[in-house]
């Protein structure tokens, strides 16, 4: 077995008064693609929020260990600086914050954290423009306000752009395929696949198996009612397609 990059143990978490995660256990291995599948309301997005330290989610019991360290009490920015990246299901629009300025601030915050020299504007923009082109994004998006007025596909591509610039170690993709047409899905998937380097880990959260045709998973975990109820290899996708989540519960 590869090294474990994240270990989630008996995680209980709630949003408001409602308990969503009810003793979830999960291990994510270094360099592997883990897919979490499950029906609506199972707690998939809550899991991603708990890992990234979202203000909505209160962890009431259990542990999240990342690279051996307990991170439940860490600030969201500290988790990000240590290499955790969440591609949001619905990226928020921030009018007035220039996309390039935002991303340069984020990239330089990480470089500073790593003890590297900050990128100057020209170096940064050269790198950003190359990736914008690679992802098939419109060049004017560089200077637009962050996600403001972006279509669903443009927002997702912008998430991938951020991911590629920030070079994280653990990438959580929350419903990355929602709202994408075939071309956008292909471009986004290619971007993600390029990030695979044998060290970096992925947690792909999805309802449907479509994205898994493009990003091949190593493990499939079925999340239902706040718990992982089954873990298997990629062959589980076909079974889920055929029988649905209900059958897994029965099994």
């Amino acid at each position: 077995m590869s090294n474990v990059v994240m270990e989630i143990e008996n995680l209980h978490a709630r949003i408001g008064a409602k308990e969503i995660l009810k003793g979830l256990n999960l291990q994510l291995e270094e360099g592997k693609v883990h897919a979490i599948m499950g029906p609506n309301g199972a707690g998939k997005s809550t899991l991603s929020k708990a890992i990234t330290g979202h203000y909505d989610v209160e962890v009431t019991e259990g542990a999240i260990r990342y690279k051996g360290q307990e991170i439940v009490d860490w600030e969201p920015e500290d988790r990000a600086l240590e290499g955790i990246f969440l591609s949001f299901q619905n990226p928020v629009e921030i009018p007035g914050v220039n996309n390039a300025y935002f991303l340069r601030t984020a990239v330089n915050a990480k470089r500073k954290h790593q003890g590297l020299e900050e990128l100057n504007a020209a170096e940064f923009l050269r790198e950003m423009k190359a990736l914008v082109q690679e992802l098939g994004m419109k060049p004017e998006m560089i200077n637009r306000s962050l996600n403001e007025g972006f279509s669903g596909g443009e927002k997702k591509r912008n998430e991938i752009l951020q991911m590629m610039m920030l070079q994280p170690d653990l990438i959580i993709l929350d419903e990355i395929d929602s709202g994408l047409d075939i071309d956008a899905l292909r471009a986004v998937s290619e971007g993600i696949n390029k990030m695979k380097d044998g060290k970096r880990s992925f947690l792909v959260i999805t309802h449907y198996s479509r994205i898994l045709d493009y990003i091949e998973p190593d493990y499939i975990h079925v999340l239902k009612d706040g718990k992982i109820i089954k873990t298997a290899g990629p062959e589980l996708v076909a079974e889920l397609e055929e029988k649905g989540y209900g059958a897994i519960e029965e099994a």
Partner: protein
């Protein structure tokens, strides 16, 4: 002189007491009608006016300066007197005690300012121009009253960058403001930038802006800092006239700052678009009390008004009162007001990318302010106002071109080409 005592006088007694010329009879009559402002006066309800009106002020009276210096592009008014004029700019500056007063201004201090001003500094633009108008105050603890009148001839296009310097004038009360006359087909862009510190002078700037047929007024006011001050504006819009009025306020400590305005649509097809953004910290109070009035004659008017406020602390307070008063049916109008805190979802998004909480808050506050700063057409002014806002907010500015312009793309392209 205690201004509050003037409120009980007849127009005749007022004129005698203040020693004003007969040409100011209208001002005396209106002041007597309106009375001096108290905390019950609508326009001053949220501003601590009573201590200022009760104070026994020494009135600053300056002799006309013997020499007026030449400057690059600045008109400098020091303690109510013109001390520098730009060379090579077609601007006529003179003084006069005869001015077409607004007989319906809502602010009694508009009239008091006129009564106390020995003469009006009149600035006339006959051609297109860009000038800086500097108001400099040097005398602490006194009451300084002076008025300016700005005239734009027909078809002229003028930008006035209005600045205020008064570090030495702690505790002074400034009763000032402009009567602005924008002739047919002319355009005035008036950019006011005033940062106050706790204990600085208190400006009460009462303006009247008359926008003639098919003329345009772009008013951008930027009020930053910790002191107290109020701007009171009455605008008259004639046929096909337009005003775009933006007000950005950042107030902190125990500041009392804001805008009280009345925009009156007199002519048909006139347009007003008023936007206020207010950022309030500590125990500051922001004021936006604005009325848009559409007269019977103002058919096919478009009138829009909006105020947004962010409260950065529990003690901060926003008094926002947008109002519409409409006497016709054929028009398009809207108004709205929101007050809240920084958006948590936006804050989290930035933090989830590794940006520290304080830096993320800074980015969001800048973003909130940016909409009104970026509305300035003049790029140099945009950069200056970004810097001015940052300096007021953090004490220093580190505005980079990435925040304010798109020139970096060229820079990147240039570097790549090498």
């Amino acid at each position: 002189m205690r201004p509050m005592l003037l409120g009980e006088m007849t127009p005749e007694t007022l004129m005698e007491e203040l020693g004003t010329s007969p040409s100011k009879a209208l001002a005396a009559r209106r002041l007597a009608q309106l009375g001096m402002p108290t905390r019950k006066s609508e326009a001053y309800r949220y501003f601590d006016i009573e201590p200022l009106m009760a104070h026994d002020w020494e009135i600053l009276r300056n002799e006309a300066s013997a020499e007026i210096a030449e400057s690059e592009e600045q008109i400098v008014i020091t303690d109510g007197r013109v001390t520098a004029l730009p060379k090579g700019v077609e601007v006529q500056v003179g003084c006069s005690d005869a001015i077409d007063l607004d007989g319906n201004h809502f602010d009694p201090l508009y009239y008091l300012g006129h009564l106390l001003s020995p003469e009006v500094i009149s600035i006339r633009f006959k051609e297109d121009a860009k000038v800086t108008l500097v108001h400099r105050f040097t005398q602490p603890g006194k009451l300084l009253a002076y008025r300016t009148a700005i005239y734009l001839d027909a078809n002229t296009h003028v930008q006035i960058d209005e600045r205020f310097e008064g570090e030495q004038a702690c505790g002074a009360l400034i009763l000032s403001g402009s009567d602005v006359f924008i002739s047919r087909d002319a355009t005035l862009t008036l950019i006011k930038d005033e940062t106050l510190k706790e204990g600085d002078y208190v400006p009460i700037l009462s303006h009247r802006i008359k926008v003639d047929s098919q003329a345009l007024c772009r008013l951008h006011s930027f009020d930053f800092g910790a002191g107290s001050g109020l701007q009171l504006i009455r605008v008259q819009l004639h046929e096909h006239a337009r005003i775009d009025a933006d007000h950005l306020l950042y107030a902190t400590d125990h500041a009392r700052r804001g805008t009280v305005s009345q925009i009156v649509h007199i002519g048909q097809s006139s347009v007003s678009n008023q936007r206020a953004k207010n950022i309030l910290a500590e125990k500051a109070r922001g004021i936006f009390d604005a009325l848009i009035k559409v007269e019977h004659t103002g058919k096919y008017t478009k009138a829009h008004q909006n105020s947004k406020a962010i409260l950065l602390n529990d003690g901060a307070y926003m008094a926002s009162k947008p109002q519409l008063e409409i006497y016709i049916d054929d028009l398009e109008a809207s108004h709205g007001s929101t007050t809240g805190q920084l958006d948590e979802a936006q804050l989290f998004y930035l933090r989830s990318r590794g940006i520290a909480k304080e830096e993320a808050r800074k980015m969001l506050i800048l973003a909130f302010a940016n909409e009104l700063i970026d509305a300035l057409e003049d790029e140099r002014m945009r950069e200056r106002l970004h810097a001015s806002f940052e300096t007021a907010y953090w004490g220093v500015t580190n505005v980079t071109c990435m925040e304010t312009c798109h020139g970096c793309e060229d820079l990147a392209a240039g570097t790549a080409a090498k």
